[in-house]
Symmetry: C2
Subunit: 303 residues, 2 copies
């Protein structure tokens, strides 16, 4: 069982009411890889610049994260700066410096073509499709995107979503892509585009999953205090695909479990600054909170 | 088993992308009474003006709704006008004409002092407390409020919430009353004020319930199309208290069921213009959707 994760590995500058740092390990692939590594073996396919700190590489180099696909290119690592207001729902993106990711092209290390699962974190949809095409043994794929690509190349984004097993989109992006105000109808419209399931990420309200035969709502975990929302969506994707990579058959019941595992890991991610909390997280912590998720939503039905 | 419901009975003017009407039966007590009457016997304590249409009275006069407390006063019925934008999340309140409710004082019809439950829909908190004080046989009470009273008399609103068993607040009002951005911490802060439980209404995302020993999240029902959101919160309160009035003991499990019954009736309410869908709703419809709510949120937990 191996999950390949592609997307940016970046250097983040973050400012929240709880902290401020100039240089934090960031990027969707970093959050996703750390989260997924709690469940399965992970391969990271990404490019960084010559300035990528050895300490960040060491942080990512966990026992079951293979960094053979983390290539160093001439130039600078992608950088992203963001500031959160008091209520954490307002994020000001200060800058997005693409740097090496402008020229990075995927090149698969020897032996990686057998990857059974792939999480194509936000990137140009052409690159996402190129990577998927390199993986003939693929059982399950998840594609994520960001508003930037939806506005730049909406049709290509839809094509990448169509080609994948699952797609994740933020609520606002779902409404924008589907041109409809209801979450349910946006989800169904995006599903009609293709793929087997669409996950609409609802932030602190949880997530909704739509497939041809299923509709599932995962609650938001009732956190008293959110320290830093950065990477929550990518952590969700990592936890979701990390768990799904381990199951014998991708059934509706396993998909629901994967969504709760994604929600669980994401709820931990936002408890720490940058990826800090994820780095100390254990599978036992995840299992404990998974059960709490059940307790949160359970109610009786009379027979 | 009897549930007393107090609050405005009004004449609404509504405009949504799906329809427009000058005069629709409205007001929190109307929505709540119709919803609650699917579960239990209801008594309506409210004042209307001489212009209150006999047809509206006839609509409310359902077999298990007692209108002995619906008094006609000199003057005009309260009127409320609202317009919804395309996405249904933006509501423009066009006007709120208090009319007879400026002078209406609660006066209990003979025999009503034995009411076992009360839903004190939005009104001046002094009036809400006055009504509760008239009901010595009370087992369970629910108090609801609106931003208008929170801004006018915040301390009195908190006092009325403290005196009740349960309080419902909209998410935005909860954040405002509690002065904190997280739903979980807003709920807990409001609970610390008093009462046994706080329900934060999350609109299309469902509802969160906080008590000393419990936290429960009810999902939003995935409606493809919302016709008119008017009265959803009051319908929730009516369904919640209507069910709770019928249970032998108000246990945490029954409270969770009541929240799902409230969510179920509210999900129907928004499917029709004004109270139209509620008026054709049957208990069998409610039971069917109650089970769908279970299917929406169920996931497996390994032993």
């Amino acid at each position: 069982m191996t999950l390949l994760i592609s997307g940016w590995v970046a250097i983040d500058e973050l400012e929240t009411p709880f902290g401020k740092a100039d240089s934090v390990l960031g990027g969707p692939a970093s959050y996703a890889a750390i989260a997924a590594s709690l469940f399965t073996d992970v391969r990271v396919l990404a490019g960084v610049g010559e300035d990528f700190p050895p300490a960040f590489r060491a942080t990512l180099a966990r026992p079951n994260i293979d960094l053979a696909g983390l290539t160093t290119l001439p130039g600078k690592t992608s950088r992203w700066g963001a500031r959160y207001e008091y209520d954490m729902n307002t994020r000001d993106v200060l800058y997005t410096d693409v740097n090496v990711n402008e020229h990075w092209r995927p090149s698969l290390p020897a032996g990686w073509a057998d990857s059974r699962s792939v999480f194509l974190a936000a990137a140009h949809p052409a690159v996402q499709m190129e990577i998927a095409a390199m993986l003939p043994g693929l059982r399950t794929s998840l594609v994520d995107t960001i508003r930037f690509f939806i506005e730049l190349v909406p049709e290509e984004v839809k094509r990448a979503m169509r080609a994948a097993t699952f797609a994740t989109v933020n609520e606002g992006e779902a409404r924008e892509l589907a041109q409809t105000p209801s979450i349910a109808s946006a989800g169904r419209k995006l599903l009609a585009n293709g793929g087997q399931g669409v996950i609409v990420k609802l932030g602190e309200y949880g997530a909704a999953f739509v497939s041809k035969d299923d509709y599932f709502v995962a609650p938001g975990y009732p956190l008293e205090e959110i320290v830093d929302p950065t990477g929550a969506g990518d952590t969700f994707g990592g936890g979701f695909m990390g768990y799904l990579d381990t199951v014998q058959h991708v059934t509706p019941a396993e998909i629901r479990k994967a969504i709760i595992y994604g929600s669980t890991t994401a709820s931990f991610a936002v408890e720490g600054f940058g990826p800090a909390r994820l780095l100390t997280l254990t599978r036992a912590d995840v299992e404990r909170r998974y059960r709490e998720f059940r307790a949160l939503t359970h109610f009786e039905v009379d027979d």
